[in-house]
Amino acid sequence: MNPQLTRRRFIKGVIFSGAAVTTGTGYYLANAQTGQSAAERLVTLNVNGRSRPVDVLPSETLAYTLRYKLDLTGTKIGCNRGECGACTVLLDGVPNYSCSVLTQNVKDRAVTSVEGVRSANGTLHAVQQAFVAENAPQCGFCTAGQVMSAVALLNSNPRPTRDEALQAMSGNLCRCGAYEHYLNGVMRASGQIV
């Protein structure tokens, strides 16, 4: 196809001076092209009640920070453009698509991801227990987002009607179509299905 293009020219050495990768500790150092100083990039986030210092690029989304820098991979990225809700987290208790939020903008907010909704003794949240009882997840890829939307709903409206629950959950796509079981889970968690 391309005689000038040899394999040797396509592979470079594996040791780099300027851009080391330290995946073992869960964050990436120095993308030198950003023009932002290291001091500006280092932020402390409040995630699941803990202070988490992290090096954040200006263009970085919260979903990216959570997943790839803080190892909180329970938050999923289904579309990375605000269309599916798989990345839903709570910001000060309000559900948000974390793929569409810049991490630099949430320095002063309380971030709750799916890893943060269990009780302190490790018991699953009522929503999670109800989703288990309803066998609600199918593939499970949307589940964390569904959990977060349901938790936010029940925090603000502990006994929603089925229609209120439907509306509150409607920003969370489920390609497997497990909607009815998630919805039943919300009603169960609110004590309206036993």
Partner: protein
């Protein structure tokens, strides 16, 4: 006494899903891992003339570029991992760049210059068949499967591309709803005598139809990550299947399957698009070996649209002859499939659906599958059957009307039963109770009463319609292996090579082993999700087949374990194995239950006795994959291992019937699904709550096919217009009914020891068919003959305008 079958349980991965702890391929990382991103084609057709990656390679942090030259050639009709000589759709992967961060990899893509040469392209199959029509490949426009006599009489199956054009008369006939008599086809079969069948019919119906392809859009894009350690490739991939992936994936890296550890704990949906190893999987493993670093290849949502496969569309014509008693006497069916850039279609399966629902004595099928410069096509939930169900339902209603029969009774009179035959082969089924399902569904839905209620309910300019539909898919196969182990702790370890795409059949099938050995579920452990858990040879996790297939394998493996328990007891305690029985995790003498061994003791004795008891020896007929698995656990307990040699014949069918009521707004063309009730004929229901979720999930897919989902391509430029989730419109909470009912006939299948058959796919077919039937009913029998029938089509019909059916276009409108 059954203790496990038909009772709810919580599959072990559910908690990990609600807590976020379970890991999908993209959730893994590895020290030194680099990030790979794909450069995709901006053109619908052409070739790569030159790649200049020098600027990208000069960037700090870029570690390498991987192109088609790094893989074995994959000439047409293969679907190459990376395109070079044949670029055949927008979004086709051309090359991959790896860098130490994802941002650098992204930036590097922008710094690569690819020179393309353009070629002609086409996005509609009928256009391509038209005289002078463009071809998707330089060689032609049609995929031909070939079969030659090989050495020793072994057939050599192949495929080639040919250029086929129809005379204009055939194109015009199709577009006008007539038989394209002089069209050329690549698949033709017939049984009976259709002319005689039509001659004895009191009514003959002829209709054209068109169904659109649409993307699978699994919520998890198919990211993969691979690394090499001690000569083995560790591959984290997103797949429906587990063991069924091993050989193909190993071949992609040219390694022995024993040197592959495929890790796939959970998969974010597959729907047919991830049954086996798919082309892009070849990148991570090979690139990682080349770079000597772990490589993660992340796929974006847009790329998932491009490479994640799609349903084949179809343009067709059907002629149905009906006798006075309502029996379908003859069917003549033509299907032109839209094979996208991979060329294959599902027309044969669509024809199979017709044979199931009508059981015609006389039928002819003619089909051809045409390449278009659109995304690759592959199996998607009930491929062929479900889209046929969508367009066939209103046509069936029309047939019922001409002989003045109730729509359900017409279906009841024609549909397959246990003595029925299916498809081209006219071969049998293991059992079928669709009539019972229809009867049960009529009661559940209150059909007789509801169809006599007025269509106008006084709710604005709205009208109601009630519909019924049948979904079918083959649901099981035979001959795979089961593997269980009783440990010295007395626990039962069930090794499952079944994948985990969210159906939980990996767990449901394991219940069969627990049942046979009468082990409480909390004393069982399922080993799965990675090859080094020593997993047996298993079927691909697709085609609704694992429930039938792997309840059988687990059953026979557990029976092997029971036999060995009895033999060990007899060897230790005297008498013959037949003198012993099992219960309470013990094997004991039938005449004196105090004389026995616990399972834990028997496992210890199996290790001491060795041989086939501890897996040091195993049956000759098990697959090499299972042999390796047994070798991995030999000497660690009592091993039960067996190939499924349970006798029997015929295809196990999965059948679902659906009933629905909709309310259509005549001002807007939008409708609401007021009620949906479905009944499955899937043998014994093994896991009731999960059965309900499966039925409902499939019903949601039916809503998508009925009303929402389709490819849209710009015919001028070959560009897809709806790559994202929002535009391609999988149903949301707000599009579907959320208080539905589902039930099962629950008559055991005689050829499955647990009584079950699969059900994943026909759930969608029943739903889409019922909705299409209801829409037609609401409009006094109007036939759209499309899937989807979108709101704009309905509005245009209501406004008296023509709509796109007549032009029979797929991908465009």
């Amino acid at each position: 006494m059954t203790t496990h079958l038909g009772f709810d349980f919580t599959p072990p991965d559910v908690e990990g899903k609600v807590s976020g702890e379970i890991k999908y391929a993209e959730d893994y990382k590895r020290d030194g891992m680099v990030f790979a991103r794909i450069l995709t084609s901006p053109l619908p057709a052409g070739r790569v003339a030159n790649i200049d990656a020098s600027a990208a390679l000069r960037m700090d942090g870029v570690v390498g570029v991987f192109t088609a030259d790094d893989l074995p050639p994959s000439p047409p009709p293969g679907n190459p991992t990376l395109a070079s000589e044949y670029v055949t759709y927008v979004g086709q992967p051309i090359l991959v760049v790896a860098a130490v961060t994802e941002e650098i990899a992204e930036s590097a893509i922008d710094n690569i210059r690819v020179d393309f040469e353009r070629r002609d392209f086409v996005v509609d199959p009928m256009e391509s068949l038209t005289p002078g029509g463009k071809n998707a490949y330089p060689e032609g426009n049609v995929l031909i499967r070939t079969r030659e006599e090989g050495p020793g009489g072994t057939p050599i199956i192949g495929a080639e591309i040919r250029d086929i054009k129809w005379p204009q008369s055939a194109i015009d006939a199709m577009r006008n709803g007539r038989n394209p008599v002089d069209g050329e086809f690549t698949t033709e079969w017939a049984f009976g005598d259709i002319d005689a069948g039509f001659a004895e019919s009191v009514a003959v119906i002829e209709e054209p139809f068109v169904t659109m392809g649409y993307p699978h859009h699994c919520l998890e894009a198919r990211t993969s990550m691979a690394y090499w350690e001690n000569g083995k490739c560790y591959f984290h991939g997103s797949s429906q299947s587990q063991s069924a992936n091993n050989n193909g994936l190993a071949r992609m890296m040219n390694i022995d399957p024993g040197d592959l550890v495929f890790i796939n704990e959970a998969t974010g949906g597959g729907f047919g698009s991830k049954i086996g190893p798919y082309p892009i999987m070849a990148v991570a493993g090979n690139f990682s070996r080349m770079l000597n670093r772990p490589v993660q290849l992340r796929i974006t949502r847009e790329q998932e649209f491009y490479i994640g496969s799609a349903r084949s569309g179809m343009q067709g014509w059907i002629k149905i002859g009906v006798k006075e008693d309502g029996k379908v006497a003859a069917v003549d069916l033509v299907i032109v499939n839209d094979g996208g850039s991979t060329g294959g279609g599902s027309g044969n399966s669509s024809a199979g659906h017709v044979t199931i629902t009508f059981q015609p004595e006389n039928m002819r099928y003619r089909g051809i599958s045409v390449y278009t410069n659109t995304t690759p096509r592959g199996a998607q939930r009930g491929p062929g059957e479900n889209e046929m169900a969508a367009v066939l339902a209103p046509i069936t209603d029309k047939a019922a009307a001409v002989v003045n029969m109730d729509r359900v009774r017409f279906r009841r009179a024609n549909v397959i039963d246990s003595d029925g035959v299916r498809s081209q082969s006219q071969s049998g089924v293991t059992s079928a109770f669709v009539r019972e399902a229809l009867d049960q569904g009529m009661r559940l839905f209150n059909w007789n009463e509801r169809i006599n209620q007025p269509k106008r309910t006084g709710n604005g300019n709205k009208v109601r319609g009630r519909g019924v539909g049948i979904g079918y898919h083959g649901a099981g196969s035979r001959g795979y292996d089961g593997l269980v182990r009783i440990g010295t702790d007395g626990r039962l370890y069930i090794h499952s090579g079944v994948g985990n795409l969210g159906t939980y059949s990996y767990a449901g099938t394991c219940r069969a082993a627990a049942e046979v050995l009468q082990v409480p579920w909390d004393r069982c452990e399922i080993l799965r999700g990675r090859t080094d858990n020593h997993l047996p040879h298993s079927s691909g996790q697709g085609g609704s087949n694992t429930m039938f297939t792997h309840t059988r394998t687990n059953w026979v493996a557990a029976e092997d374990a029971v036999n060995k328990l009895k033999e060990i007891a007899a060897a230790d305690l005297g008498g013959s194995p037949n003198d012993y029985e099992i219960d309470g995790e013990r094997v004991f003498s039938s005449s004196d239950s105090s004389q026995g061994l616990t399972y834990a003791q028997a496992a210890q004795r199996a290790i001491e006795m060795g041989g086939r008891y501890s897996g040091m020896e195993y049956p000759d007929d098990i697959n090499p994959i299972t042999q390796r698995a047994v070798q991995g656990i030999q000497g660690t307990g009592l091993i039960g291992v067996s190939k499924d040699n349970i006798p029997g014949q015929g295809q196990p069918p999965g059948n679902v019937v659906g009933f629905t009521e909709i309310e259509l707004d005549l001002d807007t063309g939008k409708y609401e699904i007021l009620d949906y009730a479905a009944v499955a004929d899937c043998g014994t229901v093994i896991h009731p709550t999960n059965f309900m979720n499966s039925m409902r999930g499939g019903a949601v897919w039916g809503v998508g096919m009925a009303n929402l989902e389709r490819h849209v391509y710009d015919p001028q430029n070959g560009l897809p217009a709806n790559t994202g989730l929002y535009q391609s419109k999988p149903p949301t909470y707000l599009d579907v009914p959320t208080s539905t009912r589902a039930a099962a006939v629950n008559i055991p299948d005689p050829q499955n020891p647990a009584g079950c058959r699969g059900i994943g796919e026909p759930t969608q077919g029943a739903s889409v068919a019922a909705i299409a039937s209801a829409l037609s009913d609401a409009l006094d029998g109007h036939l759209f003959n499309t899937a989807p029938t979108t709101t704009d089509m309905i509005v245009n019909h209501l406004a008296g305008n023509s709509y796109s059916t007549q032009s029979l276009k797929t991908n465009t409108f």
